[in-house]
């Protein structure tokens, strides 16, 4: 009898010790359901590893006719290291949920997901890509802002007028993955170091090899690879959910 009692106690203790502490998330009481979830803003941001993104991610739950639905439950999830505040919420009167996102500690591309359920309790998902720059890409981003954007960025503001329209051969924006992903690292380094003529291209791209160091140019290439859209496959890490 005693042995049985001891055995039972031991097993109970063992089970208690082994069981994972499960965090009890307070389930959301959705008052409505939608048929689609769409991005309002906040996708494809360029942030820094381990840091919150500049802009929050805003998603909207719509009904069949494309109008925002209030009171639908939206859940955010992402690869390990990504945090959301809040991680789940009900949509507001305009059908939107806003969440501040902080990326993980590794540089690369993070696929995050916002989901909601429709009337038949089927999950509808929305995937968003966010980019986290590491040290080298950050150096590249800074150099880009100092030297490159004024011709390579088509966006023009009163503070920083784009020179792109003044050039007879239009430079490629660095996000233009369709073109730049086909170029090898060596070609990119060559064209940055020696200018357009190095690859039989326009001399309007000047040589930077006598102004920037080799490390600077490697940093620029890693930045160009990091922001490419569609993503650059060879070097760009993709962090998706496990």
């Amino acid at each position: 009898m005693k042995q049985v009692l001891i055995a039972v106690c031991a097993v109970t203790l063992l089970m208690a010790g082994c069981s994972r502490k499960s965090k009890q998330a307070v389930p959301l009481q959705a008052t409505a359901t939608g048929t689609a979830i769409v991005e309002s803003s906040g996708g494809k941001q360029i942030g820094y590893a381990g840091m919150p993104l500049d802009q929050p991610v805003v998603v909207q739950v719509n009904d069949a006719s494309g109008n925002g639905i209030a009171g639908a439950a939206v859940y955010f999830s992402g690869p390990s290291g990504v945090s959301f505040a809040p991680a789940s919420a009900l949509t507001d009167s305009s059908g939107q949920v806003t969440s501040a996102v902080a990326l993980g500690q590794q540089a690369g591309r993070y696929k995050i997901m916002a989901s909601t359920r429709d009337a038949s309790r089927k999950t509808i998902e929305l995937n968003l890509d966010e980019i986290a720059l590491g040290y080298q890409q950050t150096v590249g981003a800074q150099l880009n802002a100092q030297y490159c954007v004024r011709c390579h960025d088509p966006e023009s503001t009163p503070q920083r007028v784009s020179n792109m329209d003044n050039l007879s051969v239009k430079p490629h924006p660095f996000t233009e993955g369709d073109t730049l992903n086909k170029m090898s690292d060596a070609d990119l380094v060559a064209i940055i170091s020696h200018g357009g003529p190095a690859l039989n291209k326009s001399p309007q791209m000047p040589p930077w090899g006598y102004t920037l160091s080799k490390g600077d140019i490697a940093a620029l290439v890693s930045y160009i690879r990091a922001v490419a859209d569609p993503p650059y496959e060879a070097g760009g890490l993709v962090y998706a959910q496990k």
Partner: protein
Amino acid sequence: MRNKLHALWRTFFGDSARAFGSASVILLLLLAIAPAKNYFSQWRHYQKQYLHLIRGRADAVTLERHFQGGIQQIWMPEQQVTDRCTTCHLGLKEASLADVSPVAFREHPVIPHKLTEFGCTTCHRGQGAATTVEEAHSATEQWEQPLLPAKYIEAGCGQCHLENQTGTPFLNQGRQLISSSGCTHCHTIKRADGTYIMPDDDPPSLKHIADKTTREWVYAWVKDPQAYASTATMPNYHLSDDDARDISAFILAQSTPLEPPLQPLKADAKAAADPAAGTTLYGQSFCASCHAMQNAAGMMVGGNVGPELTGIGTKAKPEWLQDWVANPDHYDPVTMMPHYRFDAQQVATLTGLLESKTEPDFLANVHLDNATPQQIEHGKRLVVENGCASCHEINGIKKPENFAPELSRIGSKPLNQLIFVEGVEHTLPGYVAGKVRNPRAFGPSLKMPQFKFTPQQIDAVTTALLALTDRAQSQPPTMRIASVQQSKYQPAGNAGQLMRDLRCLTCHMINGHGGDMAPDLTWEGTAVQHEWLTQFLKNPETLRPALIRRMPKFNLTDAEINTLADYMMTVYQTPEFDRDSLPVSQFGTAQVEQGRQLFYSKFACQSCHIADYKTDKGYIGPALAGTGKRFNAAWVYHWLKDPQALRPGTIEPNQHMTDDEARALTAFLMSLKSGGAQEAMKK
């Protein structure tokens, strides 16, 4: 049960031989505990896992050759580094392991330093000598410094790099915020190289405040500075109505009239206040280069060197505005604002415009009775307690010394010296960020006011503060990249007097002293021609079509212009070469033509510069259509050969031209003698 135990005892310890044998076995087992513990240790587990990981890979042979078993250690006593991190983090140097899982075996992201030269804990913190995951990464009772969260990692760089780095935008931003928010008015921060972080927010003196504004405005301002101007840098002290009333009473009571006193408002000022003319003059004088103002659409337009002017009419008295616009030196001899030398009509016009920029709502509900002596006395106590004189000059109050705790080693502060409150993470970064975010959450009686930072700015300031560690202070000086200090350069003589009056150094850098809004003038005398400089000072033309901020026109006399031009041409010369060493007369037509070819085809200079307003559109660099009238040929030649040598940091790339190419281009550029943009437009 009892019988069974008894039998067991007899089996092992029945006689002396059995007892001896059993005791020996037990002793042996006890002795085996230490080696067993070692054998089953966590780091061995990681090394086995790593070997398992690399065996399946194509480059297994290379990786296995690099692998060394056992405890690894990076040991640098003079840098206080004893890091065994590489015992488990085995792939840090393996480029082919950039994307493996688990993360522990990944290649370290590219950084400019070698792990073997700096170790790991220098940047990441944590307990380097530990060999378990828990002890190495987390805070324990014996070790208070856990791993630094990735978002503050640039604090690691800031321990040695006291100067800004390209790769550390947040550290740079945090340091800039510490200066521009005036943190170091109250907190002393001594860098490891012995220099101090100086505030650069320039809070105004309150000695003659009653000449400038009303008690009602002071009351509303100290209650909530951001309600007056969203860009205000003064923090919010969360004062009660009574406290604000008494502080305003005391400050105004201490104010003395200016010497000589303010002139009464000129009778024609109101009449001259033609809003259109005022706006035009405001634009022509490039006030917006330094001052921001909200436009009709609610957008903030302008710079942040001077205060925002959206509600200036509510704040400043008309007589004061008139005096200030005429000559700011009278009220504030150390202001950054230049003395524009406006004529009486211009002063009246600008005063009228600024007076019309009001925010009536700001003072709508402010009604103050005359202050009683008790209120003034109480106000004085509050001013002393809150340390107002740390930032502002106030008659009768001495600037307090060490008003707030010194922060030179805040990044290594032991946690037991800190008081945590609910909702603040129990770590040093958590404490620092919490304090920057909301100081009064740590106790309503704390004096530190509420600054207006965005979450991202809070992280940046925290990063900069966490860089101020014991390690930074105590490591060998050879590890340090010292901070660059502004020189104390001031131009001399009559011209120097004039340049101080015009506040040239607010925008221009000369010999390492000055602002960064406008070009460095250290070698201007070598670069330009006397005639051009004279004309430019008389009437500044637009040199860079894409810039909003431009050189304002000061109403200088011919004599003043000559003094300035002569001084600059004589003193601001580079020792590297003589400005007359390349006479234009030696260039032939063929050389000019060769230069034109190079300009338009080989170097495609027209991408960024304008040589001919009719055909060229590039507007990154300055327009070059008037080069022949503006520059000296020797300067142009040396600039083309190596722009960074003449002006470090300029974005013009070094094109590695041959001497002949540079000479031909110089010949072409020196042949361009058309006027400025305005003149070209007229044609």
